[in-house]
């Protein structure tokens, strides 16, 4: 294995001002939040401009990075002392972080532009753009940070932005509840990440990537396994992996651009980033790696099953997101052979899933915000651009040959197959399910009979929304081939994450690849018979046990409620009761036995001056007595 290269301090050129990437959108958020209604008319343009500017800085940094020889492509940019002696603010510009920065600011810009149209009727559009800007800033800090403490600030910052945006329409109780749930479930993950950081600090005496990663091999295996599992817990929260997946489906309460940007393309992939970035720890902790792959496979199947049963188009896509991130986790758990595929799939997924979500938003925009696919149908002729771009995204995600998803997902499946046959075949099965649920979605939405509500007058969305769709679908077509063929992306990432001993060779028509294609085809054909050729009932039929199981999100919420919420409520009630009667009662009772003060406390109008005076007198007596005693010595 070829190891990552050393981080070189750097302060000049574009990279020297790469902090502008973070500061510009942060400034945008601050201006938009503080300026009040004055900026309502042009605030959204400021929001877009800040992200575009950030994208320009990212591109310029990327170009500068490419200009360097490979062994210098890890640049540390020191900013300022944060907690003296423990953590400094600093950025790390390397192929891994810059890939994320390009994805975040690039796809982020398109989603900002789209939102101008999507949120045009919302009186709080300015606040919406403020939160989007805040999100971009926090997400960039997360991926650009050169140490775990700064990473954690970004990590919780994106959690805050996610909270604010899920609850953007907080007058709806369901949105407010979903926002709170997302934050709290994420905090469970953050608990793990915090303990991981503590352990890294006590083990290495530092939290800086440059200091700790080279020493990973010298720490005990037990410590590194613990750190790996704790980091995984954090990753599970942020990336909605089992067992912390339950918040993501509820998070669809947020406006659709939010679902596209935060809950599909970028934030939810932060867990994958964390694991790939911490590769040095995982590579010396095989047990932790194994758990990562198991979590990934379990989630990729669970997400696909959930996605197969949802009638709400956004929740269907959310299940799909869980599932696709499961693929990335699986690859990230494999080690250097999987990293490049994990990140490549993450990037192509960022494009096609944003494409799909924004397409869904465009459909909703034309259908009075209807999300139930049972009330769609036959929409192809009335919104052709939306339909065609959506179908491109669909073909990309199911792995239609030569489109983006084909290359990146197949890369993961092949690597998994070589790593462990069981994991590999389960990943193939997941691909088949993807073929089913995505085909179902397309057939129910764009084909078949019209099942529209009476007041629905579907229409194509304005250009400000369709142009981003077109650009994203172009990425959905070509990006995969560009990244994977000739191991282009793997070699690019090497300075950051290292290379596997043997470079993989992409070949069309491997056993696993053919099996995947066959299963996807079966899934799609099955979906065609049930949802394309047959009539779709407007009200969901009861369905089998399995359907109910999937509709209820595999009983994840029921499980949380039984195991955590109810006992929590009882504990809270008991603690409040105990505090009022127990502790306070005991103290009051004790006081009553000693001095009868409890009676006085109850007769609040009288007596308190007396007890006050009495105490003072007692105090004075002690002082005088003691001083006399001392004086006589």
């Amino acid at each position: 294995m070829q190891s990552p290269v050393e981080i070189i301090p750097h302060s000049s050129g574009v990279v020297g001002v790469s902090w502008l990437m973070i500061v510009l959108p942060l400034l945008g958020a601050a201006i938009l939040l503080l300026s009040g209604r004055r900026t309502d008319r042009w605030g959204h343009f400021l929001g877009v401009a800040m992200v575009l500017a950030s994208f320009v800085v990212a591109v310029a940094s990327f170009v500068e990075l490419l200009g360097l020889p490979e062994d210098q492509r890890r640049m540390g940019v020191a900013l300022y002392q944060f907690i003296p002696g423990m953590a400094d603010m600093g950025l790390l510009i390397d192929p891994l972080s810059i890939s994320f920065a390009l994805l975040i600011t690039g796809v982020g810009s398109l989603i900002h532009i789209y939102s101008i149209g999507y949120m045009s009727h919302d009186p709080d559009r300015r606040r919406f753009f403020a939160y989007l800007n805040l999100f971009v800033a926090a997400m960039l800090l997360l991926v650009l940070a050169d140490n775990y403490v700064a990473l954690f600030i970004g990590w919780e910052g994106v959690g805050l932005a996610s909270y604010l945006l899920i609850g953007f329409w907080q007058h709806k109780p369901s949105a407010a509840a979903a926002a709170k749930k997302a934050f709290i479930v994420n905090r469970v993950g953050d608990f793990g990440l915090l303990i991981a950081i503590f352990t890294i600090w006590t083990t290495f005496g530092s939290v800086a990537f440059a200091k700790v990663f080279p020493l990973a091999g010298e720490a005990s295996n037990g410590t590194m396994t613990a750190v790996g599992l704790l980091l995984l817990l954090g990753a599970c929260g942020k990336s909605a992996q089992l067992p912390l997946q339950s918040w993501l489906l509820d998070a669809m309460e947020g406006p659709t651009p939010v679902s596209a940007l935060i809950h599909a393309a970028t934030m939810v992939t932060a867990g994958v980033y964390l694991i790939v970035r911490s590769g040095a720890f995982f590579e010396v902790a095989p047990t932790a790696q194994l758990v990562v792959t198991i979590v990934g496979v379990a989630t990729l199947l669970a997400g696909a099953i959930i996605g197969s049963a949802k009638d709400d188009i956004k929740k269907g896509l959310a299940g799909s997101t869980m599932s696709q991130i499961g693929y990335m986790m699986l690859a990230a758990g494999i080690g250097p052979a999987g990293y490049a595929f994990a990140i490549a799939h993450l990037i192509t997924h960022g494009f096609f899933k944003a494409n799909l979500f924004l397409g869904a938003g465009s459909v909703m925009h034309g259908m009075n915000d209807e999300v139930d696919m049972r009330r769609y149908g036959g929409l192809f002729p009335v919104m052709r651009i939306t339909a065609i771009t959506f179908i491109i995204g669909y073909l990309a995600i199911i792995g239609f040959p030569l489109l983006s998803g084909y290359f990146t997902k197949d890369g993961i499946i092949e690597t998994a197959m070589e790593h462990n046959q069981i994991l590999g075949w389960l990943a193939v099965l997941g691909a088949g399910l993807t073929g089913f649920y995505m085909s179902r979605m397309v057939f129910m939405t764009f084909f078949g009979k019209k099942r529209w509500a009476d007041d629905a007058h579907p229409h194509e969305s304005p250009a400000v929304m369709t142009v981003p769709l077109i650009l994203l679908s172009i990425g959905s077509i070509f990006l995969g081939a560009f990244l994977i063929l000739g191991n282009r992306f793997m070699k690019f990432l090497a300075p950051a994450v290292g290379l596997p001993e043997e470079l993989p060779v992409f070949h069309f028509g491997s056993t696993a690849g053919l099996a995947t294609l066959a299963l996807v085809a079966v899934g799609a054909v099955f979906a065609w018979f049930r949802y394309g050729a047959a009539d779709v009932p407007e009200v969901a039929p009861r369905g089998s046990f399995l359907t109910t199981f999937a509709r209820r999100d595999l009983y994840g919420d029921a499980l949380n409620e039984t195991l955590l919420m109810r006992p929590g409520q009882w504990l809270t009630r008991f603690a409040v009761f105990f505090d009022n009667r127990g502790v306070d009662g005991l103290v009051n009772g004790l006081a009553a036995t000693i001095g009868g003060t409890s009676g006085r406390l109850r007769r609040i109008q009288t007596g308190y001056v007396r007890s006050y005076a009495l105490s003072i007198l007692f105090g004075a007596a002690v002082v005088v007595g003691a001083l006399l005693y001392v004086g006589n010595m």
Partner: protein
């Protein structure tokens, strides 16, 4: 120039002036002006403070007070005292501005009008005492301030508070006096047994060597501080007092007065009785961890805003006490910074809650709903204060909570892990409170809520500015705190941790 005496004299003289002027309005304006003068003076003092100087207590003044018993008027500040004095003098003008109408008898369901001049005079007297208690370098003088502070606070709760004010005020007083008496006994015993003939703190360090004596004296001091802070299970007076006190007084009570308890542990318990402190460390850490979790769980179950905030503070005091007794550089500095940060974040929560109660006339959470829609700025600032309370990174409390936890983890990993679950519970109590009060359909009773007015914005803005500034750039405060904490820990003589895998070029950054 006797800086510290001046700092105390200005508000005392100001209080006299405030009680003498004719109109209430003038009294308020004068009180605000005085508090701003104190703030400026403190700023000038802080600018001259040298954190790395060899002199431990700077701006020191020592005069004999009762020569026969070696009692001095001794004041001086190190970094720890300085940041706490700074906290006090920043909060007082904000509280004065926030309390503008608290004694007027206006506002929904407000208590009847009471003497406005007295209220503001009491605030200024309290300010002088808060400065005094942190600046005392004589143990007896510290005790005097420690007890005397109760009096203005007693009257502010008992005369200007809510419906149950008398009960709350008496409970507050009795608890505090009980603790104070124990401390008094210990203070005198310390003087007698040390046989130094002085109450001056620097001279008493290392004076008590006998382990048993140390333990007894430690107990006297510690219980007084544990009641004051308050630590679990001495906490039950706080929710009553904080809920009944007017919002401004609650800020000073929870934000500053309670810190005297944790400050006392750090300053007096650790340095005067180092061996006893180490002996009792397991006990204190257990109490702290119980308090962190217990306070948070009980906070979740509260139905009254102010009681909820009070319980969150009990949880936070657990963090501070744990940080003090972990006796590592990070935890100690974190605990000290926590005392400051908690004052700002909880202060803003109490004040904004006060604005809500002024509008609605109720402190019941259930009486609100959907406030965000009608008063977005009020709701937004309340959220920021809440997020600081749950230690969101980028806001000040995160830095201190993180330092306390990581510093504790260095040598007591298990309690630190249990305490870290507090971050999950904190998210529950803050966000659930916000959800119930600010989101959802707008309740009929809050439909006509005005958003924050100019005065209220001036109250909240500086607090939020400090919360964000310290959140991103805590270095200036830590540079003042760190040397002082290191000095304290060197007196206690604890071994600092070494990383399991040390870099060959030297550990750390």
């Amino acid at each position: 120039m006797p800086w510290l005496s001046t700092l105390m004299a200005v508000p005392v003289l100001g209080a006299v002036g405030v009680s003498l002027v004719k109109s209430d309005k003038l009294a308020k304006q004068l009180a605000l002006a005085i508090s701003l003068v104190v703030l400026v003076l403190t700023g000038v003092l802080a600018a001259q403070f040298n954190p790395t100087s060899g002199t431990r207590f700077q701006f020191a003044e020592v005069y004999d007070w009762i020569p026969r018993f070696g009692v001095h008027y001794g004041v001086g500040v190190d970094g720890i005292a300085l940041v706490l004095i700074a906290l006090s003098v920043v909060l007082v003008p904000i509280v004065i501005l926030a309390s503008w109408h608290d004694a007027d008898g206006t506002g929904a369901n407000a208590p009847p009008k009471r003497s406005v001049k007295t209220y503001f005079a009491l605030l200024l007297v309290l300010e002088a005492m808060m400065i005094g208690v942190f600046a005392s370098t004589d143990v007896f003088l510290f005790y005097v301030f420690f007890e005397a502070m109760l009096i203005p606070m007693y009257f502010m709760i008992g005369s200007y508070g809510g419906a149950q004010r008398s009960y709350a005020a008496v409970k507050f007083l009795l608890y505090s006096l009980f603790g104070g008496l124990l401390m008094l006994v210990a203070v005198i015993a310390l003087y007698v047994i040390a046989e130094k003939g002085t109450f001056m703190f620097p001279e008493l360090i290392g004076a008590i060597q006998d382990p048993t004596t140390q333990k007894w004296l430690f107990a006297g001091f510690f219980i007084a501080f544990a009641v004051k802070a308050p630590l679990w299970p001495f906490h039950t007076w706080l929710p009553d007092a904080a809920a009944q006190a007017p919002a401004g007084a609650a800020v000073l009570l929870v934000g500053v007065l309670d810190k005297v308890g944790t400050y006392g542990m750090l300053r007096f318990c650790l340095e005067l009785f180092p061996d006893a402190s180490k002996f009792f460390t397991p006990l204190v850490i257990v109490l702290s961890v119980v308090g962190i979790i217990y306070g948070a769980i009980v906070a979740i179950g509260q139905t009254d805003i102010k009681r909820l905030i009070a319980y969150t503070s009990i949880s936070h005091f657990g963090f501070i006490a744990m940080g003090v007794f972990a006796m590592t550089a990070n935890a100690g500095a974190g605990a000290t910074l926590y005392m400051v940060n908690h004052g700002f974040s909880t202060g803003s929560l109490f004040l904004i809650a006060g604005f809500l109660i002024y509008r609605r006339g109720s402190s019941q959470i259930a009486d609100y709903g959907g406030v965000q829609k009608v008063a977005p700025v009020l709701a937004g600032t309340f959220l920021i204060a809440g997020l600081s309370s749950l230690s969101l990174p980028g806001l000040s409390s995160f830095v201190s909570e993180f330092m306390v936890l990581i510093g504790t983890y260095e040598i007591h990993p298990v309690p630190a892990i249990i305490a870290t679950t507090g971050v999950i519970l904190a998210a529950v109590y803050v966000l659930w409170m916000y959800q119930r009060m600010m989101t959802g359909p707008t309740a009929e009773s809050v439909k006509l809520f005005p958003d924050l007015d100019i005065r209220e914005k001036w109250v909240v803005a500086p607090l939020i500015a400090v919360i964000i500034a310290v959140g991103f750039f805590p270095k200036p405060l830590l540079d003042v705190i760190n040397p002082a904490v290191d000095k304290t820990l060197s007196t206690v003589q604890v071994d600092q941790f070494t990383p399991a895998v040390a870099d060959k070029k030297g550990a750390g950054q």
